[in-house]
Structure formats: structure tokens, C-alpha cells
Symmetry: C2
Subunit: 431 residues, 2 copies
């Protein structure tokens, strides 16, 4: 028959298993981030290649494609190493279903590249294809973030996801701006789209700053030299304020592209630092949990003495004693000090209560961090509603909402809330 102490040990083992799953998820997020970065470059170069009717950027594009193939291999290996047979209770099902989707996208990449190579698809269509694939990869990251059970790691993952999402908006801004400059003519709806991408990007970077460490937020500030920022803002102004139909300097297209790219490479540096910090935090937490486990196991071995069991029904003493016991009184591998057994039952009970409180306060903190993920969930929910009620595809639903946001000059989340609020009055056309 198992004792309370056995379950204290079991609880700690669960914590360790969760932390290890998080370390695995963090590694997955890292490789995914690298592939996203590679595909963002490939998308940009493909755009430039198609805009020049295949005259320029062919070798750069080819080199980038090989780089992406290499990272894709790593990511597939990473997917394979997720033990799909093992149980990842939590949101394993959702994570795997996102991976299933993205694998279809990766399988389709060679065909997409052939369309680009042969200049069959338009720059716009190609951009949309990459956007869709990258969105699929970000959805994998989102599920990995959503699975976090440790508040500190969860904070870093939320920062990470928002930074990646912000960088993707920056990438879409780069593509849209390049195409607009290259077209030589100002276009009001494209300008509106650019402003929307800038706005979305800035919100993501705010969330990143809120949830990441002070060091990382500082690094990101340093990584945006004023000169680059000033040049970017100048080109943004030119792009976004030109009156409808007026001329834009097509030669500025590659200059814009280079300016945006420089910024995105800097973003990549920050991401790499975030990745390192995540792995470090995971490792430290796993090591600390292992130490606790050793202490509990050592206690377990001595817990056969007489116990004053009625302690349970008396008021617990003010806290403080138990963790001191856990971390000092019984160094792993040593026998407990004399007289120690007398208070053992009381001490173990304190330990159990302290552990329960710690887990609870971790849970509370986690709920707070995870609330920041709700925004994206609301948008997805609104999208689902539009799909069901208006018989739209996912892509169409997303476009509809984005268009509503741009037309009404509102944030996507506000549109989503409005759509969800209407849910009750919409006729039910679900099949």
C-alpha cells in the first residue's frame, strides 16, 4: 500500500516528466523558428526573382532553398523523435494534428518551388502559399506554447511565440512593400494592408516585451539601431502616404527589401537568445526538481518510525519548517540527524502541504500567463463561426475578418469579439 510520501515522490516525478516534455517542446520550437526564418527569406527572394521575371536573384534563391531543405530535414527528424506512441496527455492531440497539417505543406514545397522556378504562379499567389505554410508552422509553435505547465517557461514561450508572430508580420510587410515599390504605383488598399501589418507586428512585439526577461527586451532594443529604424520608418512613410495611383520609385524595391531584411536578421538574433534562455531555464528547473526528488526519496527511506498521526487534525504550524527540512536537514545519502524521527510525521505533512501550495500558486500564475493566449484563441473561434455560418473556407474566413478589421480600422481581436457577440443572432446554417 502506498503512503503519502510515495505520492509526494510521484508528484515530483510528474513535475519532472512535464519539464522534460517542455524541454522537448522548446527544442521543437527552436527548429521550427529556424525553418520559419529560412522560409521567410525564401519567400522574399522568390518574390524578387518573380518580379524581375527570373532575371535576378536566381542563385540567391537557389542557395536559400538548399538551406531550407537542410533545416526541413532537421525539423522532420525532430517530429519523428516526438515519441508518437507515447502519451502526451494535455494537448498532445492538438499538437500532433497541427504537425499532420504542416507535413502536408512541407510535402507540397517541391511542387511550389517548381511553379516559382518556371514562373508559373504570380508573386502574389506565391507569397500567399508561403504565408499559409508559415502560419501552419506557427500553429505548431502555438500548441507547444499552450502545453506549458510551468509558469516561468510558459512566459518565455509566450514571449517567443509573439516574437515569431511579430517577425512573420514583418516578413509579410517586407513582401507587400517590395511588391508595392516594384509595381511603381501607390495603391490605397495595399497601403492599408501595410499599416495593418505594422500595427499587428507592434502589438506582438509589445507582448514579447511584456513576457520576456529584462535582458532579452534590452537586447531587442539594442538590436534595432536608430539609423536602421529611421531608414525603415522613412521608407514606410513614403510607401504609405503616397496618394492613390501616384508614382513610386521601382528602384527602391530592393533597397526596401534589404532594409527590412536587415531588421529581420536582427530579430533572428534575439530569437536565438530566447531559444538559449528557454533551454537554460528548462535545464535548471529539471536539475532542481531532481534534487527535490532525491531529498524526498531519502526521507522515504527513513519514514518507518512511530508517527503522531493526529497531527493531521491539528492546526498546521506556521509554514517555513518543512522546506528547510527538505533542503537542509537530510542531505541525500546521509542518515537523518538524531531526534529527527520524532517530528517526522509532522514534517512530512508540512512538506506535503507546502508542495500542494507551491503547485497551486504555480497553477494560478500559469492561468495568468495563459490568458495572453486567449486573444489568438478568440480569433480562431470567430473564424470557425464564420466558416460554419457562411460556408466559408478557413482562408476566406480569415480574409473576411482581416478585411473587416482594415475597413473599420479596428484590431483583429476586436473584430473577433464582435463576430462572437453576434453568434446568438446569426441563423444556424451549420450542416
Amino acid at each position: 500500500m502506498k503512503s503519502g510520501l510515495n505520492f509526494l515522490v510521484a508528484a515530483k516525478r510528474c513535475e519532472i516528466a512535464e519539464l522534460q516534455a517542455l524541454a522537448l517542446a522548446s527544442a521543437l520550437v527552436n527548429v521550427t523558428g529556424r525553418l520559419v526564418h529560412g522560409l521567410q527569406r525564401e519567400r522574399g527572394l522568390s518574390n524578387l526573382y518573380l518580379s524581375s521575371n527570373g532575371a535576378r536573384f536566381a542563385p540567391e534563391r537557389e542557395a536559400q532553398t538548399s538551406e531550407c531543405l537542410r533545416i526541413e530535414g532537421e525539423l522532420r527528424a525532430c517530429f519523428d523523435s516526438l515519441d508518437t506512441e507515447s502519451v502526451m496527455v494535455g494537448n498532445g492531440a492538438r499538437l500532433f494534428s497541427r504537425i499532420a497539417y504542416v507535413l502536408h505543406g512541407l510535402d507540397a514545397l517541391p511542387d511550389l518551388r517548381a511553379q516559382i522556378e518556371g514562373q508559373v504562379w504570380s508573386a502574389r499567389k506565391v507569397t500567399e502559399a508561403y504565408v499559409r505554410l508559415i502560419a501552419g508552422l506557427l500553429a505548431v509553435v502555438f500548441e507547444a506554447v499552450d502545453s506549458a505547465t510551468d509558469p516561468e517557461i510558459s512566459r518565455l514561450l509566450v514571449a517567443r511565440f509573439n516574437f515569431m508572430q511579430g517577425k512573420e508580420f514583418a516578413g509579410q510587410e517586407r513582401a507587400a512593400g517590395s511588391a508595392l515599390y516594384a509595381s511603381g504605383r501607390a495603391d490605397a488598399s495595399e497601403q492599408q494592408r501595410l499599416l495593418h501589418l505594422i500595427d499587428s507586428q507592434e502589438r506582438c512585439l509589445q507582448v514579447f516585451a511584456e513576457f520576456s526577461s529584462a535582458t532579452l527586451a534590452a537586447l531587442w532594443s539594442q538590436n534595432q539601431p536608430s539609423a536602421t529604424l529611421a531608414e525603415l520608418e522613412r521608407m514606410r512613410r513614403v510607401l504609405c502616404t503616397a496618394t492613390q495611383g501616384s508614382a513610386l520609385d521601382a528602384n527602391q524595391s530592393p533597397v526596401w527589401f534589404a532594409c527590412c531584411s536587415q531588421r529581420m536578421d536582427r530579430m533572428k538574433d534575439v530569437e536565438d537568445q530566447l531559444a538559449q534562455e528557454l533551454l537554460r531555464v528548462c535545464e535548471n528547473k529539471i536539475a532542481a526538481a531532481h534534487q527535490d526528488l532525491q531529498t524526498f526519496t531519502a526521507l522515504s527511506a527513513t519514514a518507518t518510525c512511530e508517527a503522531d498521526s493526529l497531527t493531521f487534525f491539528k492546526d498546521a504550524p506556521p509554514p517555513g519548517g518543512a522546506m528547510a527540512l527538505a533542503s537542509n536537514a537530510v542531505p541525500p545519502g546521509l542518515t537523518p540527524p538524531q531526534g529527527y524521527g520524532l517530528h517526522l510525521e509532522r514534517s512530512i505533512l508540512e512538506l506535503v502541504q507546502e508542495q500542494a501550495r507551491r503547485l497551486q500558486s504555480m497553477g494560478d500564475e500559469l492561468d495568468t500567463v495563459r490568458a495572453s493566449l486567449n486573444e489568438r484563441k478568440l480569433v480562431e473561434r470567430a473564424k470557425g463561426l464564420l466558416m460554419a455560418h457562411r460556408q466559408l473556407s478557413e482562408e476566406e474566413a480569415h480574409k473576411t475578418m482581416r478585411q473587416m478589421a482594415m475597413n473599420q480600422n479596428r484590431r483583429l481581436i476586436e473584430v473577433a469579439e464582435a463576430v462572437l457577440a453576434m453568434a446568438d443572432v446569426l441563423p444556424d446554417r451549420r450542416r
Copy 2:
């Protein structure tokens, strides 16, 4: 290298594993519910035994104790069968830590019974001891409920937990009322406590009605015959409206006890029905998931034909085709119909997207259901705050909040919210 379809299968396997863990959790909740019921009776009989100075209810109490020992054995076996070595990512750590606590309480039961047998402890002190142990058992149930990943099962578990909690308030009402009648004198603070227990109990039963099935809610209505209810309300009125210090008929104590007991036994019937419904829903869901899995596996075996991978980058067709394919087109064990392979890639992609949408909408629904658990979490959080800032034990913090609620005639959740709102202005006395 694993394909998208492999991960679709993996996602389904995860779902099945989660459902199986839920079935296990439901079974645990059932045994816990039976032990709680037994201990509630044992508490009541111990009270009557002590009130009569050991003259009455000794054999009934003894019989009830044996019954509880028997169920306790079952529960311990149930705890042991939780594979503590296996990973229950999610809130395994919290569940195990609650079990660790409750095992200490169960270990202390024989000593508590000896105190009662020898009439050493007062009825009040004994009642508090049982209340604490039952609260520990309900905390185990709460964690099991909080781990649910399926919205339908989660609804039933929420209904179940609230019904159990409501029944426990009814049990405390029975004990407090018995003692008050037995004392022969009306007491204002005990009357206030009774009113509070009645109020808390009714709120729990409302949540139960909201989250359980219509059948069960109807069963609960039927299970409260008007005659019993009228008698209960009459005795409540007598108890709660007598002026401070006025006489109460001590002979009514066992009558009150019997009336409350009858109601609680009826509650037990509803609980048993809820338990059966839970197990049935778990079984059905597991069977359905297995069927899906078979279909996916059958598809997997045929998915080697040429695929039109660019489908991924085209707009998805209106939904409806994919699930039809999954449930009809490929009966397990049959080869797919002719011409089927042509659309396979498209169909699998639809299946993947439909699966992702289904998981997402399940997640949304789950969030809604789980919001109902937040009330308890807020109360726990406020309690933790009081413990840290005022150096109170958990018991003292709980009593303080309950007292505040009674004095201010507010609900416990309102007091908790007020406490949490004050958090920022409280001096930080954390150690």
C-alpha cells in the same frame, strides 16, 4: 520519415489515452464519493454518540466504521492502481500531491476514532476533524475534474464535483443543526453558520443543475419529495428563527438528523446515477475514438498513390467531404473503392483540417466549462494570500474568510475577490 497521416493517427491515439485517463479519474471520483458519503454518516453518528455521552448510537457508529474501513480499502487500492510511475502530464503532480495529503488523513483515522470511542474529544472538535478529511477528499476530486480534456466529460465532472460539495455542505448543516437542537438553546452565531451552509449548498446544487444532463437534473427534482422538503424547511425555520438564548426541543435532534439523512441518502442516489452516466460517456467516447483510429489506419495503408500536393496551397473545398470519407468510404478491413486514390491527398488534407477544427472547438468548449472551476480557485488563491500576509494557517485563513462572509452577508467568492483586490495595498510580509 513520418507522414501527416501518421500524426493524424498519433493525435487520435493521444485522444484515446486522454479518454482512458479520464475513465480512470472518473472511477477514482466514484470511490472517493462513496467514502465521502460513508464518512459523512460516520461523522453524524459520532456526533450523536458523543452528544449522548456514549449512551446511544454506539452499535450504529461501529457498523458505519466497518463500512468506511471497507471503502477506504477500495480507495487505497484505487490510488495504488494509479500508475504513479507513469506520466500523467497535465495536472498529475497536483492530483498526486492532493492524494499524498489525504493519505495522511486516512492514516490518522484510527486515532481519531479512538478519541471518539473514549469520548476524549468534543463533538465540535470531532466534526472539524471529519470536515478536514472530507475537504481533503474533495480536493482530490477537484484535481481529477480539473484534468478533464473532453468538454462533455468535463461538464459531467463539474456537475459531479458541485453535487458532492453541495452534499458536504448539507452534511455540515446536519451536524450543526443536530448539535444546536441537542444543546437546547438557540445561538445566533450558530444560526448564522447554518444559513451560510444552506446558501452555499444551494449554489452548488445550482451549478450541478446547470452542468449535468436534463435527465439527472430531473432525477434530483424527483428525489426530493415535497413532504421531506417541507419537513426540512419547517425544522430549518424553527432552528434559524429562534431568538438568541431561547429554548430548543432537544428531542428534535435525532428527528432533524433523520430528516437530513434521508435527504442525503437521496443525494447519494443521484450521485450514483451521475457516476454511471460518467462511465457510460467515457466508454462511448473511447469506442468512437477507436473506430476513427481504425479508419485512419486503414487510410494509412492505402496512402502510397500519387498525390496532388499543391492542394495544400489551394483554398480548401467547403467542408463535409472529409468526415464522410472517414466514416463511410473506407470501412475497416476493406480496400478503398475504385477511383478513390485520385482524390486521396485532397481527402486526407480535409480530414486533417477537420480534425484540427474539431479539436479546437473542443478546446474552446472546455475553456468555457472550466471557467466554472475558477470560483474555487479564486477562493484558494485568496486563502493563500491571507496565509502569507497574516501568517495564518490554512485552517485559520479559511475560518477568517468564512467569518467575513457571514458577518458581511456575502458569498465566499465575493470575500475572496475583495481579498485579492486588496493584495496590492497589503504590506508584503512574506517570509
